[in-house]
Amino acid sequence: MNIDSIKNGIVIDHITAGKSMKIYHLLGLDKLECSVALIRNVTSRKMGKKDIIKVDYDLEIDTDVLGFIDPDATINVIKDGIIVEKKSIELPEKLTNVVFCKNPRCICTTEQELPNIFTLTDREKRVYRCLYCETKAAE
């Protein structure tokens, strides 16, 4: 399968197979007008299978969102056809308006102008809890 290589843009590589569609929506890539290639189940020596997203536009990626969904992913920034920067992703300490609290007893589900903030409470198990009511973020 041939996908044109990109001149100026980004490549999100090493995405856990199956997570690219979620990343595509949560990063708002569906709203871009440029070419976006979403490649699923690519053979990978390291991972067995992986997904890749290529965006033909020099876009500032929200690494908090990406880190929350798939902290093992990497970002390559491409300029004039060559990789100029490789960014690794980390689990963010705090997520604002990325996931939303589903606890009907939580203040942030009543007062809707409040930001939905989740904090990392267990790095090993990748657990995020609502700042206000401590409800665990749904996967």
Partner: protein, 304 residues
């Protein structure tokens, strides 16, 4: 500026410091009677309460301070749709410290994030109630003289009972603690409390549906009420509300120095004939609640 939103906001040293101040207040009340002269406590109660609000108010009066506030959401601008954040900003202009009870979980944290004065969480729905935990700890300190090597029975609603979760969290920081978790199947302690607190800290515990089975082992029996306001379904509440009722018969095998506690209000889960038994400590617990709140107000207002 410090707030008290969650009992874990305080280190064990700070809790012990508060208990020491509360014990000193009990021994020397006159020494503290003018400490908060000219200061105002705002009690913002968006949900009904007898004990907690009056305990805070009497604590402030006994420190020589004054109290403003409201005791129901319909008596405040919340009824007009004002946000918690705006209420906190407004009250910061009038008072020196806030005690807030709110039916929504996290509301006192939102107040603390928007206030310029200290905020005390006086209960946020089924979530946290740190001053009840401080009250329970002072009671245990006064009645038992220690926090370690205790077998603590927790009985009733262990699922929604926030005071139970906070007490388990606080006592899990001490050694030699064993919990006996007594509840009907439907109101068992949530698995996250077992996993994240009991198992993580290697705390010994047993779960049982029988109130009598472990009675002879208990140093403390903490009774709780099945709370109507925590149920979405009235049928479930009616089916479970009379699950455990402590009577003199059930105390027959208990230790002579057992400490019986209850965060109150009681409905029928402790028979009134136990009230005169020397092991009944729940009304002393109410009194201790006022003293620990006095100590807390002093700490947060940084009054020497």
């Amino acid at each position: 500026m410090r707030n008290l939103i969650n009992i874990l906001d305080l280190t064990t040293e700070e809790i012990e410091e508060l208990i020491a101040v509360a014990n000193d207040i009990i021994a020397n009340p006159a020494k503290y009677s003018e400490k908060c002269r000219g200061k105002k406590l705002a009690t913002l109660f968006f949900e009904p309460s007898t004990r907690t609000r009056l305990s805070f108010e009497s604590a402030m009066y006994e420190l020589g301070g004054n109290v403003i506030g409201f005791s129901a959401a319909q008596n405040s601008s919340a009824a007009k749709g004002e946000s918690v954040a705006d209420t906190a900003k407004t009250i910061s202009c009038y008072a020196d410290i806030i005690a807030m009870r709110h039916p929504k979980e996290g509301a006192p944290l939102v107040a603390a994030m928007n206030s310029t004065i200290p905020v005390i969480n006086a209960g946020d729905g089924g979530h946290n109630h740190p001053t009840q935990t401080l009250t329970d700890l002072l009671t245990i300190n006064r009645e038992k003289g220690r926090f370690n090597n205790l077998t603590v029975g927790l009985c009733g609603d262990l699922k929604f009972g926030r005071t139970v979760h906070s007490l388990i969290t606080a006592l899990s920081r001490y050694s030699g603690i064993k919990f006996v978790l007594i509840s009907p199947e439907e109101l068992k302690l949530p698995s996250y409390v077992k996993k994240d607190i009991l198992q993580k800290n290697n705390i010994e515990y047993v779960q049982t549906t029988s109130l009598e089975e472990y009675m002879p082992e208990l140093d403390i029996l903490y009774m709780t009420r099945v709370q109507r306001e925590r149920f979405f379904n009235e049928e479930d509440y009616l089916r479970l509300k009379d699950s455990y009722i402590l009577t003199m018969d059930k105390l027959a095998t208990a230790k002579s120095d057992l400490t019986i506690m209850h965060p109150l209000p009681r409905v029928n889960e402790i028979s009134v004939d136990i009230d005169n038994d020397p092991r009944a400590c729940y009304f002393k617990q109410v009194l201790y609640g006022k003293f620990i709140r006095m100590a807390l107000i002093l700490k947060l207002l940084e009054v020497e």
